[in-house]
């Protein structure tokens, strides 16, 4: 029995070793400041804690990391590193590890991390933090938020003008404000089009008034994303906006499967321009609701490396191009010129305040 156990333990140890190999490249990417001697003291280290989905989720993790990379490119004295979070239990240990590592600033990606950031930031009042998708949780945290309801509004207006079935759909990863801000905006944009143009376009998968809709309860599982999108298509939607990080990529497979059945389905990607981040599905992307994460992260990091930690928070809007809609790419010729002109008017209306967005999920100033 002892022998069996010893063998089991050996296998376990081997497996754990191998498993830990999977994490190594990430941790290795960030040099420990101070460890290399005098020269390192002049370096500024910015460490990023990613949410689940990995650094290449074609969505918010990827976009945030791109901002950090851009900051390093502009200023080689900035040392950057990132750690992935495997699940929400990893947030606190990950943040704590960055603090112990001696990072000059720790950037937490994702609103789900808010409680964890508050906990770690309060325990380490001298450490500078930045957090994406949440208001500052403590004095030493800089918040970066994006009013994606504004970008979503444009996407909704566009979809209502482009749908052939009179039904458009959206679904999210979780019913949380950073996700539902997009969906609220999309819903309001469709209602605005209905009011202005006398159309009767229906939104499937989300209703702002009840705050209920379709959610995959997951930001990873693409199979779920595919089958939820197919459900919306079967209910008549011909334009779908998935707001679910990597899980949303399943919508691409759903659109491809629908095409094989002779249905014309368009998608709207979020966070980044889908035609760049998930190019294989570009033929289906009508547009993308962008969230200028990389710009905000780059700006913050550059300022912080210059010795000035910004205070308070940044709010991305249509006006400062923190959010918006991406080019139409392959659909450019199909979007009528009149609709394009209307979109510009709607955009101007949101910026000057003549169109108000009522979403309760949009971040506040």
């Amino acid at each position: 029995m002892t022998k069996t156990f010893a063998r089991a333990a050996a296998v376990g140890a081997a497996a754990l070793l191998l498993a830990s190999c999977g994490e190594r490249p990430d941790e290795g990417a960030g040099a420990t400041p101070g460890a290399t001697g005098g020269a390192a003291e002049e370096k500024f280290s910015a460490c990023m804690v990613l949410d689940v989905g990995g650094v290449d989720d074609r969505s918010f993790n990827q976009s945030s990391w791109a901002g950090l990379q851009a900051a390093q490119k502009a200023n080689p004295d900035i040392e950057i590193s990132h750690v992935p979070s495997t699940d929400d239990a990893a947030y606190v240990p990950n943040l704590q590890a960055q603090v112990s590592k001696g990072c000059n600033t720790v950037i937490a990606v994702g609103g789900l991390m808010t409680d964890a950031v508050e906990e770690v930031a309060t325990a380490n009042p001298d450490q500078q933090f930045a957090q994406i998708d949440a208001a500052p949780a403590a004095d030493n945290v800089y918040g970066m938020q994006f009013n994606t309801a504004e970008g979503g509004f444009l996407a909704g207006y566009l979809s209502a003008g482009m749908t052939k079935t009179g039904k458009v759909g959206t679904w999210g990863g979780l019913n949380i404000p950073p996700v539902t801000a997009y969906m609220d905006g999309f819903w309001e944009g469709v209602q605005h089009h209905n009011k202005e143009k006398g159309t009767d376009v229906q939104v499937l998968g989300w209703d702002e008034t009840t705050q209920q809709g379709s959610f995959s309860e997951d930001f990873l599982d693409q199979a779920k994303g595919r089958s939820i999108t197919e459900t919306l298509i079967s209910q008549g939607a011909d334009i779908v906006l998935p707001v679910a990080g990597q899980s949303g990529l399943g919508a691409g497979a759903a659109a491809e499967a629908a095409k094989a059945e002779g249905k014309d389905v368009k998608l709207i990607w979020v966070d980044t321009d889908g035609c760049e981040s998930a190019a294989q599905y570009c033929p289906f992307f009508l547009t993308s609701v962008t969230k200028n994460l990389s710009g905000a992260v780059e700006e913050y990091t550059t300022a912080a490396a210059g010795g000035e930690f910004p205070e308070g928070q940044y709010l991305g809007t249509l006006e400062n191009e923190g959010t918006g809609i991406a080019p139409f790419h392959e659909f450019d010729s199909q979007v009528p010129a009149e609709l394009k002109a209307d979109l510009d008017k709607v955009k101007a209306g949101i910026i000057d305040g003549s169109i108000t967005i009522t979403s309760q999920s949009q971040p506040k100033e």
């Binding site: 029995m1 069996t4 063998r7 089991a8 296998v11 376990g12 081997a14 497996a15 754990l16 191998l18 498993a19 830990s20 190999c21 999977g22 994490e23 190594r24 490249p25 990430d26 990995g54 650094v55 290449d56 039904k167 759909g169 679904w171 019913n175 499937l204 998968g205 209703d207 009840t210 705050q211 209920q212 809709g213 379709s214 959610f215 309860e217 997951d218 990873l220 599982d221 693409q222 199979a223 779920k224 595919r226 089958s227 939820i228 197919e230 459900t231 919306l232 079967s234 209910q235 008549g236 990597q246 990529l249 399943g250 691409g252 497979a253 491809e256 499967a257 094989a260 294989q280």
Partner: protein, 446 residues
């Protein structure tokens, strides 16, 4: 030796079928006793609750819209049912069945039909209620059944893997890891060879290799099989996670770009049959393989000499050995075959569903498959039924998310539905289960 004679072997053991293990001969006393009153009344109670839920919840709780739309397939065969009339009528029907059960009791062999009747009434009533909030396109019946099969496919294949292993006396907790490695090998193989077919083969081989590891440590080195399974899952997760970052993310064009995903292949004529056509005869190659494998595993396990040996080895390896069965050899083959099946399930996840591999994409499906093995009482048919039930409940949950129900249902609550349905169905229908007696018992025992 903890293995004990099987109280009730699922299949009669005939002398012509192979060597008879004396200890395993069940006592052939079939007594068709009426169900005990307690059990009868409990069944009636559950039926009554379902009936009342239809009337009070789905009927009287319905929204303002007085009809619910259904479609047989796509845009064809549309019909509407009156609301709240339909839920109330169906609820009354279920109550009548409950009353009969309480007074006279249905014979045991009727139980599946009674349960199926009540379940269909309940689901139809629920869908009437769910659509009574706002006008919609109507429920596409074929589509929801097709989605159920689609969602159940990896679970069924994984569960078959579990059945093969456990019937031979090896607990396979590593289904999850086998699936994950299969999904990985499927995507990488298909990318490197630029052929989805090669991907499927690569996935099966990768799953089988994981099976070899399981067999090596469980059978040769007699490691505790549950712990071993957990470790193998960690191994697969670490290995694929590392390779994903080191290779697939660095050069996705080369390693993670299969040419799309497996498209459904319509069988001429048969695929035109309403409902059944799209369900059974217009699927991708892995789903067809799954249909065949359910039959093959069932026949092999219960109708062949090999199956009898497998079950004997799983129940009482020592007895099997005394009549000349090579216990370890039987186990090795079953464990490797199981791994191959789980690898095929993995191929369905990557190149069968979305076309690329992503980190940890099995996302717990291997564990649901393991649960289906137990819920299905270690039989291929039972496991298939359990997996299909889970798939159907998931499809229903996703559908309801797109409807504007009269009373908003939080999506997180809806997300529990598949698990809840499965647990209740198992508690109510399956009852106490008995695993193969020798599962997780090393052989030879020390």
């Amino acid at each position: 030796m903890s293995a004990r004679p099987a109280g009730a072997a699922t299949e009669p053991v005939g002398p012509a079928d192979g060597p008879v293990v004396p200890e395993m001969v069940p006592s052939h006393q079939h007594v068709d006793a009426p169900p005990p009153p307690g059990r009868r009344l409990a069944g009636a109670g559950v039926l009554a609750v379902a009936g009342l839920a239809c009337i009070l919840g789905w009927g009287l709780g319905a929204g303002e819209r007085a009809e619910a739309g259904f479609r047989v397939a796509g845009d064809t065969g549309a019909f509407t049912l009156p609301v709240p009339g339909t839920p109330i009528a169906l609820g009354v029907a279920v109550l009548l069945v409950a009353a009969w059960q309480a007074v006279r009791g249905f014979p045991r062999r009727w139980a599946p039909f009674v349960v199926a009747f009540a379940a269909v009434c309940f689901v139809v009533s629920f869908l009437c209620w769910a659509q009574s909030g706002a006008a919609g396109a109507g429920v596409d019946i074929t589509r929801i059944l097709r989605a159920s099969v689609f969602l159940a496919t990896p679970l069924i294949l994984g569960a078959l893997a579990g059945v093969l292993c456990e019937r031979s006396g090896v607990v396979n907790v590593a289904i999850e890891g086998q699936m994950l490695l299969g999904a990985f090998a499927g995507a990488v193989g298909a990318s490197l060879a630029a052929s989805l077919g090669v991907g499927v083969v690569a996935a099966v081989v990768a799953g089988a290799l994981m099976g070899v590891l399981l067999a090596l440590f469980a059978l040769k080195y007699r490691v505790d099989q549950v712990i071993l399974g957990v470790v193998l899952n960690a191994l697969a997760l670490g290995l694929t996670g590392w390779a994903y970052e080191a290779l697939l993310q660095r050069d996705p064009q080369r390693y993670n770009s299969p040419n799309g995903f497996l498209q459904p292949i319509a069988i001429p004529l048969l695929s035109d049959i309403p409902v059944l056509g799209p369900l059974l005869f217009n699927q991708n190659i892995i789903v067809y393989l799954m249909f065949a494998l359910i039959v093959v595993v069932d026949v092999v396990l219960f109708r062949t000499r090999w199956g009898l040996r497998t079950r004997a080895v799983g129940e009482h390896p020592k007895a099997a050995a005394t009549v000349g069965i090579r216990v370890l050899r039987v186990r090795w083959v079953n464990v490797i075959a199981g791994g191959a099946l789980a690898g095929l399930a993995g191929a369905f996840l990557s190149i069968g569903t979305i076309g690329t591999f992503t980190d940890n994409m099995s996302a717990g499906k291997g564990f649901i498959a393991l649960a289906a093995v137990i819920f299905g009482r270690w039989s291929p048919r039972g496991a298939t039924a359990a997996a299909l039930l889970f798939g159907f409940a998931t499809a229903l949950q996703q559908l309801v998310g797109t409807l504007q129900t009269p009373v908003p249902v939080p999506s997180s609550l809806l997300a529990m539905l598949p698990y809840l349905v499965t647990v209740f169905a198992v508690a109510g229908l399956v009852g106490r289960v008995r695993p193969p007696a020798a599962s997780n018992q090393p052989y030879p025992a020390r």
